[in-house]
């Protein structure tokens, strides 16, 4: 049984202009020890999807799913108490913006030990010891002395690492990390990603990495889901998707980044013309068709998800399978 099963997850948000279909039917499964990267640009719905798993969506958002199951627990039917018991204990979230997700009025030590003390019977001393241990693991020097400090006394990079340590306190089965290294320097990014990978192997955690950085995805993830305008347009193992990117959006994204050795310095980078469509009201057909070079009449109709081989799937009518870039 998969650790996490998501089938046809939709998120609608009522707005003055009508219903905004932010996420329109997302399905995936995740096993222990796997890393799934959800890749997409602003507004693709990748962050909302991750929040929906934890039931942390804004209250006005409407979440629906045929299946949303974590280790056999039906998350759609779970009560508030049951979800509270899961959150921070067996499912943890590492947020993108540590300045707004840490409480400025409490010390680092208080915030690190809170979840452990809430979910487990441990002494204050043992909780602090674990906090110090994890701060050291995320590369924070003088960890013991940090416990008494407040978030404003730490740099952005340190705050982000505190967030990661906090997510690991209860050794969760699933970690959802939303752009965990986007604000960090490259040297620290590599260090944090290595740490997440090591801890994952050590504890058999499953990891969902929400990111727009294709380099991070390729190096860290086992599976990829490319998201565009609230839908998964291409999914598969990292090797399948990066080896033969097939959906025109995936191909466009990969062409738009400079890659040493592949792109020639100074030559124009590939671009994707146009903008993401509005998702308010009736949404039909392929959301990418107004920006797609291959758009045809059929793109306005229902787009079936097709199996390209192995675990590689895409939602596109194109017959030709992509070639390595």
């Amino acid at each position: 049984m998969a650790l996490l099963e998501v089938d046809r997850l939709t998120i609608d948000i009522p707005t003055e202009a009508g219903l905004l279909h932010a996420v329109g039917g997302v399905s995936f499964t995740l096993e222990r020890g796997e890393t799934l990267a959800i890749v997409g640009e602003s507004g693709s719905g990748k962050s909302l999807t991750s929040l929906a798993l934890m039931d942390l969506l804004p209250s006005r958002a409407i979440r629906k799913a045929a299946t949303l199951r974590f280790d056999g627990i039906d998350l759609m039917a779970a009560g508030e108490r049951q979800k509270e018991d899961l959150r921070g204990d067996r499912m943890a979230m590492i947020f993108q913006e540590p300045m707004t997700s840490l409480n400025p009025a409490y010390t680092i030590g208080d915030q690190l030990t809170e979840a452990l003390r809430r979910h487990r019977t441990v002494s204050a001393k043992a909780a602090r010891e674990r906090a110090v241990h994890l701060l050291e693991r995320v590369g924070i020097t003088a960890a013991a002395s940090r416990l008494g400090q407040y978030p404003h006394q730490l740099s952005g990079g340190l705050r982000q690492r505190v967030m990661i340590a906090m997510g690991l306190m209860c050794e969760p089965d699933l970690i959802i990390a939303d752009e965990p290294t986007t604000a960090l320097d490259v040297t620290i990014q590599a260090q944090i990603l290595r740490l997440l990978r090591d801890l994952q192997q050590e504890f058999g955690m499953a990891l969902i990495l929400v990111t727009h950085d294709l380099g991070v995805v390729a190096r860290v993830a086992t599976k990829v889901a490319v998201m565009y305008a609230g839908r998964l347009v291409e999914t598969g193992t990292v090797r399948e998707v990066f080896g033969a990117p097939s959906h025109p959006y995936t191909r466009g994204l990969l062409r738009s980044i400079p890659v040493p050795g592949r792109t020639r310095p100074g030559e124009p980078l590939g671009t994707i013309p146009g903008q993401v469509p509005g998702l308010v009201g009736d949404v039909f057909g392929c959301a990418f068709r107004n920006r797609c070079d291959h758009a045809a009449e059929a793109c306005a109709g229902a787009i079936p998800e097709r199996l390209l081989g192995g675990n590689h799937r895409m939602a596109c009518i194109l017959e030709t399978v992509g070639s390595p870039q």
């Binding site: 320097d185 620290i188 090797r239 040493p260």
Partner: protein, 324 residues
């Protein structure tokens, strides 16, 4: 010999920082002894971690702050002897975040025309014509002229910021992480635009970024900064092909290209960035350096010359160094 458009000679900027109530103030060297030459028409990149002094150096070049010692020359004339308005006309900034660098209460027309108004250039009609010309140049449709920043996408806002920087027809753009707040597909559009504009307006770019793939794509020369000092300055091919300083190598090793066969780079330097108020002795990089020897903690290294630049390291290897 042609006069370089920008020249820094031993530029240092220190700050006196409070350590707390009743404690003596300490000296923080944000930029220490930086010498750089930027030739007209080139893209000179500056890379380094946060806290390395990149943005302080940008402020010095923009004339927003004065160096504590040393000299900055524009076309051979010291910046201190140049009228501030003249500096502002010739060197313009493009900042990282187009959400905070544009006044939300001004229309696009007002935002782009602001430098002209501040410098008292042209009549109202002439300014309008210039604004329209700049919008065309950065690829914005004329209809956004009356729009406000919140009606624009991130990419459109950065185009407005670039139009505003170009309206004075400057010689140099100081680009401080101009695409790091943008989506990857939008980043590509802005980078392509910057390259087009460079040709069209014969611009020189001083390009600050932590994205080394972008730097390799755009830059002619690259300076690597660590704790306020330039530790290596080379041509693009030299730096990316055969980096001489261990810190440059560590930065390059951390770049994650989208190749799933490579996995995470295993090597790497430890993450503890030193306290800039009490920098390490000798070579300030030695506590993090995988090749540090006893000498490195004792003695600050001198520059080793290469055919295309220099590196400041005891172990940069004289065997590798070409007569410079």
């Amino acid at each position: 010999m042609t006069v370089p458009v920008l020249e820094l000679k031993d530029v240092t900027k220190t700050y006196r920082v409070g350590q707390g109530f009743m404690k003596p103030k300490a000296t923080l060297t944000a930029v220490g002894g930086v010498s750089l030459t930027v030739a007209r028409g080139e893209v000179h990149a500056l890379v380094g971690e946060s806290g390395s002094g990149k943005s302080t150096l940008a402020k010095l070049l923009l004339g927003l702050i004065a160096p504590t010692s040393g000299e900055i020359r524009i076309d051979g004339v010291p910046i201190g002897q140049t009228d501030r308005r003249e500096v502002a006309r010739r060197i313009q900034p493009v900042f990282q975040d187009p959400y905070s660098s544009l006044n939300p209460r001004k229309s696009v027309a007002d935002l782009v025309a602001l430098p002209l108004v501040a410098h008292g250039i042209g009549s109202s009609a002439e300014r309008q014509a210039k604004v329209a010309e700049m919008l065309d140049a950065v690829g914005l449709p004329r209809r956004v002229i009356d729009a406000y920043p919140n009606q624009l996408s991130g990419g459109q806002r950065q185009r407005v910021a670039i139009a505003r920087a170009l309206v004075m027809r400057p010689d140099v753009l100081i680009c401080d992480e101009p695409t790091s707040a943008l989506d990857v597909s939008v980043q590509a559009q802005i980078l392509n635009l910057l390259m087009d504009l460079k040709r069209e307006f014969r611009l020189t770019y001083f390009f600050i970024s932590h994205n080394l793939a972008v730097v390799e794509h755009l830059a002619d020369r690259v300076a690597v900064m660590y704790l306020g000092r330039i530790v290596e300055e080379r041509g693009r091919e030299g730096l990316f092909g055969a980096p001489a300083h261990p810190y440059s190598r560590a930065l390059l090793d951390s770049v994650l290209t989208p190749d799933p066969d490579l996995g995470m780079p295993e090597a790497g330097i430890s993450g503890a960035f030193p306290n800039p108020i009490a920098p390490p002795s000798g070579c300030t990089f030695h506590p993090r350096c995988p090749q540090a020897t006893e000498r490195c903690s004792r003695e600050a290294p001198a520059s080793v010359a290469f055919a295309d630049g220099f590196a400041t390291c005891h172990n940069a290897g004289p065997a590798l160094a070409l007569a410079g």
